[in-house]
Symmetry: C2
Subunit: 242 residues, 2 copies
């Protein structure tokens, strides 16, 4: 794990790093020492580890005492694009233009990335928990849209993750992994999502195997999640990871 | 307004009263002075103002500084039963036994009570806000199931109410009143509700005219709302009434 930069402001320290081929960012409370809960923060499709929504959420969590780590998903952010991904992305766009089912198209793209993404997250989790100011405390996962498309296979596979905030995605291709998830989940739905049909969102929530799961639906389109849901997710993590 | 009893424990004062024919309970922080937010707390069908769920919620809110008032709905609790209500309730039970649509049957019963219930609440709101330890602060309404069946006409009609927590009910007979509601609403759905079909719950949420509305769905049957939703509703009221 190689650290590239470290800056602190408003009580939060932000460290850019690479772990092998994986570029990442770690946010912790300034002057943090000792073990604390860690949130793995996945980004949306076409976005990257330090997209504005990620950064503001991460800083909010870190200001409350948590550690937060984000990485670029395969073929996103500072990572190289493979030819195969370029072809899949082009086919996805062409299919959407041609009026094909966007849920199925997006699921195909997520399925192509998920194997690598799960392995990346597992390596990053192991490395970050070795740091003195993070430690091997309880772990949560937070990711919407593609962050759920890659996060649901991760949460299903990774027993160190004890709680997850997911959503803005339908059930295509994810029902089996969702059924294997048993940790508490907070699940976000945008009531007027132009990319995810409401019944597909409901089907994914329904498929989750967790005994404790809460769906939060708010009016607005895919990108319009209200800011109070960030505070709500922080309380959810605090309740389950403290 | 005639006070019948006053007791204090754990920092909360509980006062039973009558206002004309209406029996009620008021919860306030012990030794409270001055104006504070007031929550009108409606109860479910067949329950009453001091049912255990109402009392624990009211005490939680009052411990956080709010005033809370509950009254017996018409034909409930300490109030007399009319012959007409007895006939309607018997027809409702017979219809359910005969396999008729429970949503429509329940809506008929609520519709019979709503006119009186709205007038009762408006009178109680006026009277309680004249008390020194309540005052004319911002007002919220909280009621599930029948508490929503009577509360939705109230919130639609009463401009003093600025935020509402509703749910556990379908859209039968309520769509027009729901569309007239414009204040922020937190809306609860039980995912496995044996009394309210999921699509009817979603239809009622959809019908609300509020720009800010949040649906919270949790696994379990009609009566199984998790206790963390009480804390969540308190934060919702605090956000909108402070």
């Amino acid at each position: 794990m190689r650290f590239i930069s470290q800056t602190s402001s408003d009580g939060v320290t932000e460290e850019f790093f690479t772990l092998g081929e994986i570029p990442g960012v770690l946010w912790t409370p300034e002057h943090a020492r000792g073990t604390r809960p860690l949130i793995l923060l996945g980004h949306g499709g076409g976005q990257h580890k330090a997209a504005p929504g990620n950064v503001s959420r991460a800083r909010r969590y870190a200001a409350a005492g948590l550690a937060v780590v984000a990485i670029d998903a395969p073929n996103h952010g500072d990572r190289p694009r493979t030819e195969e991904f370029g072809r899949i992305a082009a086919e996805m766009r062409a299919g959407m233009t041609a009026g094909e089912n966007p849920g199925a198209l997006v699921a195909g793209m997520h399925g192509h990335l998920a194997g690598q993404a799960v392995a990346d997250w597992q390596a990053v989790l192991t490395a970050v928990q070795r740091l003195d100011h993070v430690g091997a405390g309880p772990v949560g996962y937070c990711g919407m849209s593609m962050g759920s498309g890659l996060g649901i296979p991760l949460v299903a596979a990774e027993p160190r993750i004890r709680a997850a905030v997911l959503g803005l995605l339908g059930a295509y291709g994810l029902a089996e992994d969702a059924a294997r998830i048993t940790v508490p989940v907070q699940f976000l739905v945008q009531w007027d999502d132009q990319m995810v049909p409401r019944d597909q969102s409901m089907a994914l929530f329904d498929a989750l195997g967790s005994a404790e799961k809460t769906l939060h639906a708010n009016p607005g389109k895919h990108g319009d999640v209200p800011s109070f849901e960030v505070d709500s997710s922080l309380r959810f993590f605090t309740r389950h990871l403290s």
